[in-house]
């Protein structure tokens, strides 16, 4: 009917071009906000209670063993230039439910320092031998030693690996009885099985590390990290991998062992315990602290009351605000609506 030529420039009459698309128009007025807040508030209080209760159930035992104060067990070991062993005693009044996670913790320790973080060679850690002979520039100054020999694993992160070691004894009838500590599976599965690879070479692992030197601070080379378990050596060493995953915040803890075996599978029974610490790692120079932490975990991780409280507070805040708004609304709005 219409002449096409005549109307060539006529815009299309579609909902889109005429901006008539059906739309939802959210106007945040009391009508939406009040019920919304009530709903959110109720939900949050519910979650908050659950979180709080869960968190309350978690048992945590924390002991600082830095030895900064005079009289503390490891005070004498402050000088890390000589090997030193100190013991920390503690007692449990009731069963510490298992599985118990055994952490070491550091404070004022900035693993998230930028230059520190990039001071590593991913190729080395992935087992590429080419990177053994010439480590990445990013590792400097822990790239070569003074003899210009490549350091493997290079870089600051590896070099500063935490090297205190712990042994836990359950004192039964005055006799210390070692608590078996499970060092397997403390690192992420992906890290241990995919990300960190030892070089594939014929012969021993040590031969792969020929012509390289260990990091300056390390007592033993990488292929000899775990003297007790040959398969836990090289880069595929659980402790090493745990250390290499840098902590987000300056006060952190890292998983050391789990207590899952033998008589302690259900947890640590009440009684006295002795923790034997081989004190190597210096932290006092920069005002750092070291601690050990025993904790069991829940579905939401370790003990953290903050989240539960936050939920509860915010949930109740929502309720309060909706009530306030309701009052305000009733007082100011209703008469106007009559208009």
């Amino acid at each position: 009917m219409k002449n096409e030529g005549e109307m060539a420039n006529r815009p299309d009459n579609t909902a889109f071009t005429q901006q008539r698309l059906p739309a939802w128009q959210p106007v945040l007025s009391a009508g939406i906000v009040i019920p919304g807040f009530v709903l959110i508030g109720l939900a949050f209080i519910g979650i908050g209670v659950a979180l709080f209760v869960t968190s309350q159930k978690i048992q945590v035992l924390e002991t600082d063993y830095t030895g900064a104060e005079q009289g503390s067990p490891c005070y004498d070991c402050r000088d890390t230039s000589v090997p030193c062993v100190c013991r920390v005693n503690f007692s449990l009044s009731k069963l510490f439910e298992g599985p118990v996670f055994f952490y070491y913790g550091l404070s004022n320790y900035f693993q998230n320092y930028r230059q520190y973080g990039s001071s590593r060679d991913d190729d080395q850690l992935s087992g590429y031998t080419s990177a053994f002979t010439s480590p990445s520039e990013t590792c400097a100054p822990y790239q070569y030693n003074s003899q210009k020999k490549p350091i493997v694993p290079c870089g600051s992160v590896a070099n500063s690996m935490f090297n205190d070691s712990f042994k836990l004894y359950h004192v039964v009838n005055g006799q210390p009885r070692p608590v078996p500590l499970d060092g397997k599976g403390i690192a992420w599965w992906t890290d241990y099985n995919i990300k960190y690879r030892n070089p594939t070479v014929n012969g021993t692992l040590a031969s792969a590390f020929a012509d390289t030197v260990k990091p300056i601070n390390w007592p033993r080379p990488a292929y000899d990290l775990d003297t007790t378990d040959p398969s836990n050596n090289g880069f595929q060493n659980q402790d090493f991998i745990v250390w290499m995953r840098r902590a987000a915040l300056p006060n952190f803890r890292k998983l050391y062992r789990r207590i899952t075996e033998g008589d302690y599978a259900n947890g640590l029974p009440a009684g006295n315990y002795t923790l034997e610490i081989t004190y190597n790692y210096p932290v006092l120079a920069f005002d750092g602290r070291k601690k050990v932490v025993f904790s069991n975990v829940s579905w939401m991780g370790g003990k953290n009351q903050f989240l539960g409280i936050a939920y509860l507070v915010i949930g109740s805040l929502c309720i309060v605000m909706s009530v306030v708004m309701l009052i305000v609304y009733a007082k100011y709005k209703f008469p106007e609506d009559e208009l």
């Binding site: 815009p11 945040l28 949050f44 320790y109 320092y113 915040l249 953290n304």
Partner: protein, 1340 residues
Amino acid sequence: MESLLSLGKRKPRKNGLQRKRRVGAWNMTLDEEDEELMRSYSGNKIRTTKYTFLSFVPKNLFEQLHRFANVYFVFLSALNFVPIVNAFQPEISLIPIVLVMSVTAVKDMWEDYRRRKSDWQVNGQLCEVYDRTQQRYVKRRWAEVCVGDLVLLGCNDIIPADMVLLHSSDPKGVCHIETANLDGETNLKQRQVVRDLPQQGPDFNPENFSSRIECENPNNDLRRFRGYMEHPGKVRVGLHNDNLLLRSCTVRNTERVIGIVVYAGHETKAMQNNSGPRYKRSKLERRLNVDVLWSVALLFLMCFSTAVGHGIWLRGLKGAVFLIPDDISPALAGFYMFWTMIIVLQVLIPISLYVSIEIVKLGQIYFIQNDLDLYNPRLDAGIQCRALNITEDLGQIQYLFSDKTGTLTENRMLFRRCTVAGVEYPHHENAQSLEQYEEQFGGAADHTLTLRSRSSRKSVSCRSLSCNHSSVSLNTLAAESDSNSFDDTLHRQAQGAFSSTMECAVVPDPQLGQKLKVLSAPLLGRLKHDATELSHIVDFFLALAVCNTVVVSSPSQPRHVVQMPVARTPLRSLEEMKALLQKVSLPRFALSPSQNSDGSPGFTKRLFNRGRSATYTPNAPTTPAARAPTPSLTPTHTPSPCSTPVLLRSGAWGQEEEQPRQSDADDGPAAEEEEKDDSDEEDKLLYEAESPDEAALVQAARAYGCTLLGRSPEQLLVALPGTGPLSVPLLHVLPFHSARKRMSVVVRHPLTGQVVVYTKGADSVIMELVGRKTSDDQREIMEKTQRHLDDYAKEGLRTLCIAKRVLEEGEYEDWLKRHVFAEASIENREELLRETAQMLETKLTLLGATGIVDRLQEDVPETIEALQRAGIKVWVLTGDKQETAVNIACACKLLRPTDQLLTLNCDIKEDCETLLSELLEQIGVSERRHASGCEDGLAVGDRGGFMLVIDGRTLDFALEAELQGAFLELTGSCRSVICCRSTPLQKSKVVRLVGEKLGVMTLAIGDGANDVSMIQVADVGIGISGQEGMQAVMSSDFAISRFKHLRKLLLVHGHWCYTRLANMILYFFYKNVMYVNLLFWYQFFCGFSGSTMTNSWVLIFFNLLFTSVPPLMYGVFDKNVSAQTLLSLPQLYKHGQNSKAYLPSTFWLTILDAFYQSLVCFFIPYFAYAGSDIGLFSFGSPINGSALLIILLHQIIESRTLTWLHFAVFLCSALLYYIFVLVFSIICVTCNHPTNPYGIETKVMSEPLYYCVCAVTTVLALLPRMLCRGLYNTLCPSDVVKAGLIDKLRPEDYSASVCQWQENSEAIYHNQNPRHLDKNLSVNADIPTDCTPETGSVLS
């Protein structure tokens, strides 16, 4: 010439120093220097592209780096390559700038490609160029044409370059061109072959052409061309605009034309006028740049504090095992850290903001251009957005400056009434029929015919006033349309847009008709007085018919101008009539009955016919006699002076008188139909005039039997009442000029043979020129005419005076010599010509004056009212008379009956000063009185009720520096201002003054060349594509076709564009500050070391990909209020006017909210994970996740409309983020040192804690905004929010609410108006302040 030649010899290459250009044909006669010179002129190839293949990369880069933001980001990327400060891998920080710049580059490339394609097309067109070697015309591409080429063009060919016309197949040496491509005017323009060309034969031999042309250097003035042609015999002929064929125009009506190219390619006038799109910076953008600077300041502050923190932190740590030992002192490390942080926090400066704004504006323009309501089906044209980057300015207009004619009115002139020799002829029936036509037009009957009847005609009809449409077709179509339901929009738009027959038909005034009848009665006894009057009347109508530049063409061949008849109608009767005229005294020549002797309608028609077609049988006079419809009309063939006067009387006028009667009896169209049935082609003359009033006058003359039948440069063909076509030798045309305000023609009177000057012009000018030493009669006539003119003006009519002067032969000879001299001179030709014109236009005899009605465009009053309600001050700047202007203001409701009219007219500055202060004082008094009377106390800005009228002369004083202040103060208290008799320069001065001194957003709207300067000065210039060509459109930012479109453009699109863009920009700032602050807070926990808890890819992509599209949607699609509500509640416009959506406080509140949200978003995860074994990037994961959620939900809260498109985009954004991080954490084992995202996200997201953290963070972050919005919207909702709420109501509630709101605001609105002021307030007011509806109705 000699000096020029020597100059040419000395400096042949320095074109800049040469003031003239010399052109000759490429043949043997050309000497070497000339050839060399001509080669130096640019060729006809055009290149509008900016880039070539090779230059694209460097040139585009260079252009992009002109943008400060790009330089900044290039600098940042470079900084990242400096090892000591680098924050990311260097490649990563290149991504944003490369992405942004390549998006821009692709856009530029695409635009350039389109230009290249059109260049190819243009350059590749073929035309016939004379080839000297082959001795014939050969086809060549346009690109190969060069200066000096002889080009042969046929009918309907497009002209390839500016050429001087040398030959035309038309025997008169005339050629017609259509300049629509150039200026949009579709009327034909005549061009003339250079005069006195040696070889003026039917064939033009290029070999023999050896004349040389000297003309001015290329310039962009389309209406001026000066130069001369030197023929071999050293004879010089002046060249002017009439000899020049302009590039890109079309040849019409002429079979063959040959021209010589004088300007080619980029030197042609068309190309010189071709300026690309306009770039303006909008107010919002200026505001935005300020805030970008604030962001920079914020960035520096953050970086500085990090740098200081890092220094202190380093100083406090000595020998920490995790530190990298180096020799850098803490202070230096701090300094380095500053730069690192600039890289890390770079996102704070929204790099993608500028690109996003450009994209959003493109989207907004897309929607504006696609709006059906802004589409005019009559012209098949929508709105044209010529400036791409000031859409949001449309939403902030505070002052609107409007032209009157063609903008508020149709610029479709209709003859309304006239006064001749001091006698007023009110033309009541004409007025009635106009009104009738109005009513009929209001009905639904004939709206669709527009489309149909036009399709059968050419588009000329809508542009020029033409009366060719047969109402038969009109009626049938109307009937047909009743059954066809056409689109509603079309229905509305068609109204009032069409010039139908009714509109053009002038119903003769009976009194005037009677007078002319008396003329035919040989009662020579009554007498001299009458005779003088009658000769006046005839002269008057002859003047109307000839004193113009109207081109006549016929609808059957719309593009063919009616040719002059071959036979000059040497009628027996005419000869005798002339003979008689010799006998009768001059004033009484008109009494000669012989001129009426052949005047039966049938016969007249035949005669007209004869005038039209040369093939008509020469014995025409006898044939119609036999076929005359009524015996009484049988004409006498014996040209006896005294024969059958009675019959003649009825014969001459019978038909004309019948017409209105019939119209009364039947419906208009029916009568038309009948008339059409027996009328022949005579009625189908098309008058194409450059200005519509000319056509209206010709039309009017025709109604009285003075018909203009044809025009050639040398003569006019005119039919006088009762005579056949008379050839009127046209001696000169002194064209209209805005300074002279008049035009004249010099003709040899067809009957008396005397040289007569007919002048037509503005009353003020003509009245002055009319001889002072005239008889009492003349003086009396002048006085009476002046009175009538005043009446006309009060009625809102446009007035023109007609005068004549009879020249003695000797006088004429003298003048002719001067004139020829003036025409041939190049230097100051215009001045000389003006002088000679002035010599001629003196001692005039006033014949009479005409009143032309210019109807208001449809919906103008409504639009103006809506705009005023929207808080826009509307000023009318017009060149018209004060009375006319005031009346139009009345008609379009700019001036309300309750308003006080303040008039500011004075002749000297001192008066102006006193007047100003006097008016100000009185306004102050009345304000105070009003304030004390009503306690409400109106806001100062909302004063209304005063209307200032100022004339051009006074405006000059008011614009002077000393009086500016007072003037602006006065206008500030007036609701509206009318400046009449203002020149284009004054218009632009006013706009500039208001814009600069008051610091307001101005909009100028106009349709003609005289509005161009004001359109360019205003913040937003709008051109109306109408009758007056395209100059206004070419210089405008937006071009619309009707004034009423302004309403939707401003109130709806302006409002939307402004709110959308403002909200989007704020959102952008928010988004960036919020996200960047997360990184900043983290610095407190990583030793201020520039470490990030997010891997750098996510960091860069977060703004660039994951959250970039939602704001675009926001900027393009969001509608805070529906179009319907915005239109019915214009006051909502104030939202944008007062920049409510984007105030400095809004910006800082947004930043504050961003700070709060980032605090929440960082510290909740921080406390949730504090002391745990959380890894660096595992910690970042919930923070990023919740940031994304917060940012997207924040937008949902801010959005006013959410369509499925929004949700789709939101979903895509979120999905894109999650897919990206998950895929990245699955495949990237060691790819991103030192981040190594492998396994992180998958692990973190598998823990419930992640979701717990995200949920609580998101809710807490958005809580305050939701709360504030909720409380605010409930307790004290802004107008916009209220309107938004109304939109959500059901239809019946909706209309009730809107009505109520309207009433409420009506009360407020009118509260401001009623003022009880002393009547003496209007100083110097001789205009009645009461504006009666009757006067208005005439106009509307």
